[in-house]
Subunit: 137 residues, 4 copies
């Protein structure tokens, strides 16, 4: 299982009048999780990142997003996001996410996404081989 955990603080600008992180703030967090998982997973290969992929004309577009919000995240809370690559096929990649509050390990949210690999023309194209790694320990 390929996974990676990042730690970050909730920004004031991400919080809403209820005093908690707005639900739309979570999608960029999941994206940060994917970015860092990719970087970490390929650290041995000199580093692979979304930016380099995009520069090669390989776009990874989110085609499905689901988030379940269990407990609110508050401004200045330190959070831990665990991102797991759950499936990588020919064209699509799936990730699962668990978001915790660092101080007490409370589970705040879970989520999942599906990404599709597209070329610059917006058409599906095969994932680069190095991203087609199967779920493994």
């Amino acid at each position: 299982m390929i996974n990676h955990t990042i730690t970050f603080r909730v920004r004031y600008s991400e919080c809403d009048p209820m005093g908690v992180a707005h639900h739309s703030a979570y999608a960029p967090w999941l994206e940060m999780g994917r970015t860092e998982l990719l970087r970490a997973a390929h650290a041995d290969a000199g580093g692979l990142n979304y930016r380099a992929l995009e520069e090669q004309g390989i776009l990874l577009a989110v085609v499905r997003l689901e988030i379940r919000y269990k407990q609110p995240a508050r401004y200045d809370d330190e959070l831990e996001l665990r991102t797991t690559l759950t499936q990588a096929g020919h064209v699509k990649i799936e990730h699962a996410y668990e978001l915790f509050r660092t101080c007490d390990r409370l589970l705040l949210a879970t989520g999942s996404t599906t990404l599709a690999c597209l070329g610059r023309d917006g058409r599906p194209r095969p994932l680069p081989v190095e991203l087609q790694r199967e779920d493994r320990d």
Copy 2:
């Protein structure tokens, strides 16, 4: 069936380096759809809005969000979002969404959300009676 359609343009700040609306931009759009559905549904009763609900200490928190992205939305595209109240129980409300590009009625995305009614203390509380309307024609 209670539903409502809003029209708006994609903002430049909502678009990403792929030149299309970033997937996190959609959640605020769905929220706009809910806001305007509520306003429209209660127009006959002198207007009901989330702001007034919050001032009464009634919070509607998103507890689940799902979005399926089918086609990209581009900067300056005029979009139509159709929001439908699919269920309103004692504590939870569900909505479904369809997002179209105005010029050619292309379906860009679908989504669904579940909201829970909370008090200022963050605990679940019954929805106000006027929001507990069943799905009807």
Copy 3:
């Protein structure tokens, strides 16, 4: 004087724990003001918009932003933003902004921006002639 007024509502996602629009939400509003001023100013010429400019490889980058916040904007407030083209030189364009609350015409904020015209290579280039219009009545 070339100017244009747009009307819009404050989104919930734009508001912060103080219950008012977060100061970072205003920059996208000013950008909407510029987008619509450009569209309106060239409506007679069949329409000119930033998207078309970008497709021609002409980028308008914000190089200076100043905003003075006088009174808070609240969730669901209807606002009016008046955008004025104050100067258009060879490479730079300046705009001034006044933001009002519609219901009582209260002035909420003022601002100004300077945009520079860049080519795809990121280097300054002359503004297209049709944008080099002087301040006039």
Copy 4:
């Protein structure tokens, strides 16, 4: 002179179709800089943070923001933001900012903000004494 430097990466969701961080993304960065400067400056006093201030009914509202954008920040760039407290009077606090790209110390932007201290009623109130520290070396 009280100052503090934070390091962070540009998020994909912060970037626009020009492939660079959108100008509206910088205001939340400056706010992060202020949050961490406050935390660091009062670390010896057991920590002081905006969240605790807000819980005491002390709000710090941005009343003026100015940013000068010199060079673009790109997705995944690691940036360093140096935040300096330039003045702290009875009611207002001023900060100055310098944003660098970590890899080559290129100066990307400078900025300044003025914050006013408000009570829950939205009226100006004196800054807490511990925040009224003068500019000093």
